[in-house]
Amino acid sequence: MNFTFHRKRISGIFVVVPENERSFVEEMKNFNFPLARSLKLKEVMGFDKRRIVPPGACVSDLAVFGLQRLFEQGWLKQGDIDALLLVTQTPDHFMPATSSLIQGRLGLKQDMLCLDINQACAGFVIGLMQAFMLLEQESVRKVVLINADVLSRKASPKDRNIYPLIGDAASITILERDTQDSVIYSNLKADGSRAEALMIPAGGLRLPSTPETAVLEDVGDNNLRAKDHVFMDGSAIFNFVQTEVPPLIESLLAWAGISTDSVDYFLCHQPNRFMLQKLADKMKLSYAKMPNNIVEHFGNSGSVTIPTLIAFNLGERLLKETLHVCLVGFGGGLAWGAMLLDLGKLDFNAIVEYKENHEYA
């Protein structure tokens, strides 16, 4: 499904990562797993360092921390926020919306929209689309898009298929109208018939959490997981990405009437190095043009990986320059989407560490 947006822009990106860093090779020693194979996984998949939240930390904690830093820096004024969108799979509560909790904790104005969006790794592209749609309204001048997840809290520490890969993080992206006559193209797809490939089976109302859903079950290969934990069918997701993502990008470029040469970077969701290299191979793109170095530094943080990629690799550069980029998200839902836009002349583009004992104002 195609979308276009006119005279809209991203004006700043700010990423919050927990200060607590874990090492993949060290963590794999907790599993009955040969060191040589851990090292091979590190080399091929890029699993190395990742950040996870301290016990008890929630999405709103990361978001409030980040927004307060932005207010302190003078990069964002409290009263300027007309809409607060939060994309998360790990909300503080079932109800109310975590975006409302963030608004309340920060004492933001009442004359605004707070909206939670339940999306996974395609959630940066989907959040941007929603934000751009809101900016069509005259009364909405500035949208704050927060992408945040603390999925490490829902992963079984005894499941090496997923636990040593996950990173927690939050990003804050500011969206405004553009005075330039810019056009943004986007393409989005969904396939709920494959929803079970990425799922937390229990804890909702279909299968409420009980002592039984907390019982660790042997799921093969000496991995233990409960129904309360996140499940990912890694190889099904690999198939999905290799099959669906190249045509998505190709059709977006065809619709926009440009070739891959006119795109400076393809900034994809970051599940692991291997998957992104295979994607680049399939699309005949150099690895430099489709960077894959986020999982090795921060882990896979769902919809936060694309803003992390932007801030980590292009932090300083995008303060001065403007690049033509293609953002590509894919994952749970299943959902996959791409967006072609000019990104640059940002007011800020940085990563900050979340401190555990931060005192809120």
Partner: protein, 80 residues
């Protein structure tokens, strides 16, 4: 499809000198989830067909895997 060439590509993935069609995949020490992903990727790039992970899980020997790829190549030809 050249079975010898397929075996060599599999041997490269498993980081061993040689694999034979009669070898049982599960008996290779290196036959893990990463090897499965690598096979999916290799088949996709070298043979331009898509096999699914659950299809790989149901094959026993190297020869069975080669036959699976061959069957996919046949299906792809029919579609053309």
């Amino acid at each position: 499809m050249n079975t010898l060439e397929f075996c060599q590509r599999l041997a490269d993935i498993l980081d061993i000198v040689e694999v034979k069609p009669e070898n049982v995949l599960g008996e290779f020490e290196q036959w893990d989830s990463l090897a499965v992903l690598s096979v999916l990727a290799m088949v996709d790039s070298k043979y331009r067909v898509t096999i699914r992970a659950n299809e790989i899980r149901s094959v026993v020997t190297v020869g069975d895997l080669a036959k699976l790829v061959e069957a996919k190549l046949g299906e792809a030809k029919q579609k053309q």
